[in-house]
Amino acid sequence: MVSSPKQRVVLTGVGSLSALGAGGFTALGHALEAARPAIDAVRAFPVDGFGSRLAGEVPDGALADLVGRDEARRLSRICQLTVAACRLALRDARMDPGVDGTELGLIVGTEFGDLRSSQEFADGYLKKGPVGLSAMIFPHTVMNTMAATAAIALGAKGPSVTLNQATVAGELAVAHGASMVANARMSAVLVGGVDEICPILYRMLSALGGLSPMAGGPEGCWPFDRRHNGPVRGEGATFVLLETLEGALRRGAAIRAELRGAAWGNSPVGRDRAPRSDGDASVITRALARAGLAPDSVGWAYLSGTGDPPLDDWQLELVRRAFGDHRPRLTSLTPLAGDHAGLGALRVAAAAWTAGTRHLPGLPSLSEPVRKDCAFATGGGTPAGEGAGVIQGVARGGTQVALVVSPFDAESQ
């Protein structure tokens, strides 16, 4: 009764704005090659009195050439980030949704949505009463505003879905979009994620112990290192275009990589907790099974690796259980760009780049790994070796997602 996937899914475009900069597949490749951490002291607002002061912010002016003046006036910043990243991805893929647009879907992952607009809307009332309320701002208080404005800007008329999820919203969007394409519901889907840093969010995360340094000590992003003491927040939007192999070949698109398999599941624990070793270890295995690959054919993996100690520990345990004695080279992009919902699709785009270049960016400041039985990519990066790659994301609350990416093999059509 299980229907087999009907279509092969390929990645043909990337659009990204993050602390690493703005651009498509090539620009992202340059940033990954440089592997220069872009985390620094928060510039956008004062953080005096907060427990944290670091973030990975989108560079000033990155949006300037990517959204029109009218959009810059009408749209909130997070919507502008979304529209810009989606446009970059379509441009990178050389795709024009055209006048029809009904075959282009959009899936947006986000952790916090447009919190800035919610605060602005509430402040209008608190300052002036009912006359202070803005009918223009209100729609942005709903989390689907990024998908709605992007669909309008692009003319995307297929399903536009917003997924709200901590840490792995981007991976979840990619997994769901891949399933949509693989099962012939859509021929092309833009999938990715977006979040922004705003004062109220940063203040709450810091006050509630959601950021480094969670338990004191120096502040920093050190996934899988003994110094890890919480995530450093990032921001931005990254989207990738997934389409059927058939469609991509028909329009002569440059195929960056093939998305071979996806699986996602849950290990039920409390909303703010990470499962221990008893969490479901089968998600990576199921993704590999869908891809038709054995664990030892995986050469490398991009992990969500936020630097949140219980999550890091759970993630490495899952990886070890899925791969046994085989040790794929592990890395994380959070030390480069900070944790945000755009990072899920950024990891997928980076995996496509690694599949093509065989280069894996390293963990720049890993000095004392929390586990000796895992192989990490360190420093500026390492050769990735042959084989497919895995993207795995885990979140407090027990959600996990695994995706399998490999170079596109034209011979196997």
């Binding site: 809307f121 709903v142 997924l163 519901r185 027990g398």
Partner: protein
């Protein structure tokens, strides 16, 4: 291809806790829209909503430390799981998709209002993740031990219906044999003020499809349905309520708050769902309408239905006239109502419909429920951003 069946239902609504009071309320045509008691409403054009009654909330087993919305969600999800007769082992393989919008914003507003007015950070700060819509899925999955895919979909007013559509897709695609799908929302100040600011709320209980309609009424609640691969359901001896034949999702890509004037996106959602079900339009006997009571929405929906179905013979009604518009929960509540309509052979009425709009030439079942042996029914939901969902259910025979 898998057949997806409905094997469990759960509801928290302005009629109280449970599927039974929900159906009794709907089928009696008793309007549950009343003055809001949850927060101050002075100075606003509309001051009413379909609120879940306080005694019903007090009776919920869910912890009082959880947000109002999480308590709704957990109660409705529990009822659905019990109704479906799922064992703990079956729950462990089930996934969950929840449509959410407001999350725990009501409690966050209380904190923020107090902080803004006093200038000090109140000691009772809500947990950050309880504010987010994803909180509902986290709480439901944790408390019920659900180990399958867990997702939160935000598609404004079509979130609840979208959760049903996406969950069914996961079953058909073989990703999970069993899914809990639903929608959850509690009234919030931001939502109430926002729709007031847009001048989309009627000061009186809403009147969908009425010539004199002046907007919508807000509501709140939660609803869940257990969706299951038919082979899986048969294997464990479950008796389905109905079959979910198909869904259609589309986007207007036109305007953030206004529907496409030619109903382009709505028509695509409806026709896609019909195509996926392999049904001619004439097979649909009843439409549980989105029916908000705003001038534009009702006109657009009627335009779409007229183009797809014609106007003769189609029965249609709007649950929102009875319980208000429960935002993210609306599509799930209406999916449950549609399933119960098929099950009981009774169409719940459209309340407050005194002067049918001549531009909406359908039989909208005014005031009083009507017995009707409907075999196939559609439930429509449309959200901000032109995000449209149509679901088609068939009576289980």
């Amino acid at each position: 291809m898998s057949r997806v069946v409905v094997t469990g239902l759960g509801v928290v609504s302005p009629y109280g806790v449970g599927v039974r009071p929900f159906w009794e309320g709907l089928s009696s045509g008793r309007c549950a829209i009343r003055p809001i008691t949850l927060f101050e409403t002075g100075g606003f054009r509309s001051r009413i909503a379909g609120e879940v009654p306080a005694p019903a909330l007090d009776a919920l087993a869910a912890s009082r430390r959880r947000s109002r919305a999480d308590r709704f969600g957990l109660a409705a999800a529990r009822e659905a799981v019990v109704d479906a007769g799922l064992s703990r082992a079956e729950q462990a393989m089930a996934g969950v998709i929840v449509g959410g919008v407001g999350g725990g914003m009501l409690e966050a507003e209380t904190w923020y209002w107090e902080m803004a007015r006093s200038g000090e950070d109140p000691r009772r700060r809500p947990a950050l993740r309880s504010i987010l819509p994803s909180s509902h899925a986290e709480v439901v999955a944790h408390c019920l031990g659900l180990g399958g895919p867990k997702e939160t979909v935000v598609m404004a007013c079509s979130s609840g219906a979208a959760s049903v559509a996406l969950a069914a897709d996961l079953i058909v695609d073989g990703i999970a044999p069993l899914m809990l799908a639903g929608g959850v929302d509690a009234l919030t100040r931001i939502c109430f003020m926002g729709f007031n600011a847009l001048k989309l709320l009627d000061p009186d209980p809403c009147r969908p499809f009425d010539r004199d309609r002046r907007g919508m009424s807000l509501g709140e609640g939660a609803a869940f349905i257990v969706l299951e691969d038919w082979e899986h359901a048969r294997g464990r001896g479950a008796r389905p309520y109905a079959e979910l034949l198909s869904s259609g999702l589309s986007t207007d890509a036109f305007h953030v708050t206004s529907p496409h004037p030619g109903a382009d996106g709505v028509i695509r959602a409806i026709t896609d769902s019909l195509a996926r079900a392999g049904l001619p339009a004439g097979d649909v006997g009843y439409v549980n309408a989105h029916g908000t009571g705003t001038a534009q929405n009702d006109r657009t929906e009627a335009l779409a239905l007229g183009k797809v179905f014609g106007t003769a013979g189609l029965l249609m009604s709007a649950n929102k006239s009875l319980i208000g518009h429960a935002m993210a929960a609306a599509g799930a509540l209406e999916a449950v109502a549609t399933v119960l309509t098929l099950r009981h052979g009774v169409i719940p009425p459209t309340a407050n419909l005194d002067h049918p709009d001549p531009e909406i030439p359908f039989d909208c079942v005014p005031h009083t429920a009507r017995p009707a042996s409907v075999r196939v029914a559609m439930s429509n939901s449309f959200g901000f951003g032109g995000q449209n969902v149509s679901l088609i259910f068939r009576r289980w025979e």
